[in-house]
């Protein structure tokens, strides 16, 4: 009985086409998977920074009365404490000592002083940052409220 050895040209072409497709799809899946998981981990890291920024902001103003607050040149002054954004960092200067906190990508900090309906003054830091996804990006916003050291009422 005569047996067939090897592949015909057509079989070879089909095998090469199938193998190439499988390798290409697997490669693309791997790259997308890597990008998605890497992006997700980076966004989780950014989220981890939020409570740290919130705590720093509230701690910086904890011992300052609202009467000592003022906003000048995009920085917040609370007595001897200054809070400002310098590029990628949030800088807290207390009695000449500087503390730098690395912010998430594309972050912006904006400071305001709010008066609540019951006439309590609160310092607010509006914080925006970008979450980068595989093909797009989404802006996030949180606000951090700090009401200072006492129940000083606004005039």
């Amino acid at each position: 009985m005569k047996t067939k050895h090897g592949f015909t040209l057509m079989e070879l072409l089909i095998v090469v086409a199938v193998t190439t497709t499988v390798i290409a799809l697997t490669g693309q899946l791997f790259v997308e998977g890597w990008t998605i998981s890497h992006g997700a981990i980076r966004r989780i890291n950014d989220n981890q920074m939020i409570p740290i920024i919130m705590k720093t902001w509230q701690k910086a103003l904890r011992h300052s009365p609202p009467s000592s607050w003022k906003i000048a040149e995009e920085s917040f002054h609370a007595g001897t404490t200054i809070v400002k954004q310098t590029g990628k960092h949030l800088v807290v200067i207390t009695d000449g000592k500087e503390k730098h906190i690395l912010l998430p990508q594309d972050s912006t900090c904006k400071f305001t002083i709010e008066q609540t309906p019951d006439m309590t003054k609160c310092a607010v830091m509006d914080f925006n940052w970008a979450s980068h996804y595989y093909r797009n990006k989404k802006m996030n916003h949180v606000r951090f409220v700090s009401c200072g050291s006492n129940n000083e009422k606004a005039e």
Binding site: Q58, T120, V145, C147
Partner: protein, 124 residues
């Protein structure tokens, strides 16, 4: 006597069964990989909402502490105000909730399935 023996040669290449098994395994591996990716994204999204919910509750506590006195109406009013000012209010399925149980006031951010995303309780 001349005995002629015939040796049957093994077929080269894969059988259809082997091919199906290999493709089945590939599908299982890709499904598992996709499921893991979806889980990572889901965890990350939930964690993001959780962080924002905690910030809302923290702002509420900060404002309550600044006031001289507070009750359920006050907690509810500040919680709603902080929720509205956060970008959680743009997400469907989230809402603030404040209720009294026995001697406690509960303030929470509720998610789509009715369960709290973040919750605080105050003793009256």
């Amino acid at each position: 006597m001349n005995v002629k023996t015939e040796c049957r040669q093994e077929a080269a290449g894969f059988t259809i069964m082997e091919l199906i098994v290999a493709m089945g395994l590939l599908v299982v591996v890709i499904s598992a990989f996709t499921a893991v990716l979806n889980s990572i994204r889901s965890i990350e999204t939930t964690y993001g909402y959780e962080t924002k919910s905690i910030v809302v509750l923290n702002n509420m506590i900060e404002r309550l502490e600044a006031g001289k006195s507070w009750n359920q109406e006050k907690v509810s009013e500040i919680l709603k105000d902080e929720f509205t000012k956060s970008d959680l209010s743009d997400q469907s399925g989230f809402h603030p909730e404040c209720h009294v149980e026995a001697d406690k006031i509960y303030a929470a951010i509720i998610k789509m399935n009715g369960k709290p995303m973040a919750k605080v309780e105050f003793k009256r």
